[in-house]
Assembly symmetry: C2
């Protein structure tokens, strides 16, 4: 089956292909989980404040709650007033209540004098601060957040602070996107297990191990991770079983133009194929198909093409499935730190992006960008986007890059 | 116990305090794990190539292996020559061998002509490419990596590419740092569970939930996660049990200067205290102690101070325990996009760092930086470092920032 007639071998621009992937992906059904295990998941509904925090005026320092313009140099100490106790006392002129950071300021008081600026005697305290302002060291009601505010937008990944906010607002459970189930299958007669010694013409299987890490990093659970030989029956059975179990099936190999490229043929047979070829480098052959709600990505067998294809097409789909934006970090402008030769297709070079002394982002590629060279990823933190052109991009030119993490240390720093 | 006499309440600069933490932390014993589960762990030994890859000259395109300067326009097709089969044929003048991407180039051939530039007949193939260069579309032996090369330095986090490299080099198992065990304890009588309604002067417990996410994000396993009331016996027992189970014990609350700051007192009693106060904002009171091999961090109870303290001091320790560098991403220069008022202590403001149209990193803080306001983290991707000063830092001034992820989309983009 295919939905594009004989046009499936047309080379698509990556953006067009991404549009097709995103048009075919839907957020998975949400689930409710305790906040203990909700870290790194994505929020389905925006979090609205249903109370103001702090709910009471709170001390921001350990010290004494006082009346700011009380002229008495020495004050009678009232009650206990520790954090956690009710603020049962009322501060009157000539009096002060000991108070701890975070505790409610007792009635009557309108400032807190830090303990460092006081001297405690027996039943009294001397205020040794020349001037006390109204509201000093007090966090008013609603200073942290106000009832009705949108605190965390839908689609936010729940990190430490978001989980803390949920807890402080009484959300012991939270609705998050379900974790996508991913099946990873490497194909090819030439592949042997990592602990085997490759014979002539053989190489060790690596893509399914890389893809599993990439899938988990993208928030998915890997439910199938296997190698299948180039055998029509075995592949058909393996892919069908994976479609049953997984939300996304990712294969590597078997999608180029050779006679034995079985995956390509099988996807056409078992699913609706949406595209097969991309106008990009690396990763020209990349099949995308759907079977019911399951997405199938036939990635190329070259290790780099395989991972670039995963990042550009599979990861955004996994993001959307989890109720997250497809690309939280779009490309940013960077200055290239050396000449770069473009090709005839848009190229995603593995690169190191760092901030120069002027705070400007600079990029160096990681050397030889051949599509089998996984080494080009090591130490990289970005994809440098090199548009097709007829002239070399000169050092100092501006291109753009997709960063996968923080900018790297500047090269000079690394040599220290 | 303490190792600094009466000097423990001296305020340390954050860098000095970090130095003390790092001097007291050692990498945990390594463990050997299968590569299936080694993703995101840190490599203990540098990975050296013990073979060259590819081990044979390999085709980079599907097509026909030929002799580049063979004048014959039409060539006899030899053997089968699919990827995974032995390259048993020898290409002679007038002949060509079909070949798939990644397959060994058969003897005799010195170029591969892509299938697009050929026309296949019955037993012969026409080469429709004007000029074929020697070595064209062939990846020579060692193009990907050379025997003896340092491929992945010790201390590298194993991402998709590194795991793929390990697999392709025959490392079915790998030595990585053990996962640190972290105990998280929140303290304070004022805390109630997230699903409880706080009474007067009470707030919901949130720090232990935040800290657990932060610890997992830093690569640790959380083995204890509980709240303990301000009771000397309960706290003593709880901390002692945590020290038994964990490599790192992190508490929140009970470390400021109030009467009931029991954690501070207990750490002094049960462990060797190295420092108690920092010249930074937020996070002034922060206790660091050791008990045998276990590190204890008494973080402040204010939610923001607590997370900033975790990031600046606990996270580097967890990195080192895992055989990783303490700070893979040091501060980078940024231009501030609005005026910022400094204080009298170095301040770590939660900020959004984005790249402007010129590729220069710009920073905006997230508004009110009060230390109880977890909201200041939401949407942030950086700590902006604001050194103490007497004059306001004006918009356009250069400061530095520690990024926690890629630069954010520029504000204009976010409004589209």
């Amino acid at each position: 089956m295919n939905d594009a007639g004989d046009d499936l071998d047309r080379m698509l621009a990556p953006d067009e292909a991404r549009g097709i992937v995103l048009a075919n992906v839907r957020p998975l059904e949400p689930e409710v989980v305790p906040i203990d295990v909700a870290g790194e998941r994505y929020l389905v509904d925006g979090l609205i404040a249903d109370v103001s925090l702090p709910p009471f005026p709170a001390a921001t320092m350990d010290g004494f709650a006082v009346i700011h313009n009380d002229p008495a140099p020495s004050r009678t100490i009232l009650g206990a007033g520790f954090a956690g106790d009710s603020p049962s006392v009322t501060v009157t002129p000539g009096a002060a209540a000991p108070i701890m950071t975070g505790a409610p300021v007792p009635a009557g008081a309108d400032a807190v004098v830090p303990v460092e600026n006081t001297a405690r005697g027996d039943g009294f305290v001397e205020i040794r601060q020349a001037r006390v302002s109204s509201g000093e060291n007090i966090r008013p009601i609603g200073a942290d957040l106000r009832q009705g505010d949108l605190l965390v937008p839908a689609g936010t990944r729940l990190g430490p602070a978001e989980i803390g906010l949920l807890a402080s607002l009484g959300h012991a459970q939270v609705r998050v996107g379900r974790v996508p189930r991913v099946a990873v299958i490497s194909t090819g007669n030439e592949l042997v297990a990592p602990d085997a010694r490759p014979g002539p013409g053989q190489i060790r299987d690596s893509n399914r191990f890389s893809l599993a890490v990439a899938a988990r990093r993208a928030g998915a659970e890997v439910v199938v991770n296997r190698h299948i030989l180039d055998d029509d029956g075995a592949l058909r059975e393996g892919i069908a079983a994976a479609v049953e179990l997984a939300d996304v099936v990712v294969t590597s190999g078997g999608v180029s133009m050779g006679d034995r490229d079985l995956v390509k043929a099988l996807l056409g047979d078992m699913a609706t194929v949406h595209f097969r070829r991309l106008f990009m480098k690396p990763g020209k052959p990349l099949n995308f198909a759907t079977a019911g709600e399951t997405l199938l990505f036939g990635l190329p067998g070259n290790p780099v093409s395989c991972l670039v294809g995963f990042h550009m097409f599979v990861r955004p789909a996994l993001q959307v499935m989890q109720h997250a934006p497809p690309d939280p970090n779009p490309a940013v402008p960077v200055t290239i730190a050396h000449d770069i030769a473009p090709g005839d297709r848009i190229e995603y070079q593995r690169a190191v992006v760092y901030a120069g002394a002027d705070g400007r982002l600079r990029a160096r590629n990681t050397g030889n960008q051949i599509s089998a060279r996984l080494m080009s990823f090591v130490g990289s933190n970005a994809y440098l986007i090199v548009p097709p052109a007829t002239e070399i991009y000169r050092s100092g030119a501006q291109l753009s890059a997709i960063l996968l993490g923080p900018p790297a240390p500047a090269p000079d720093d690394r040599n220290r």
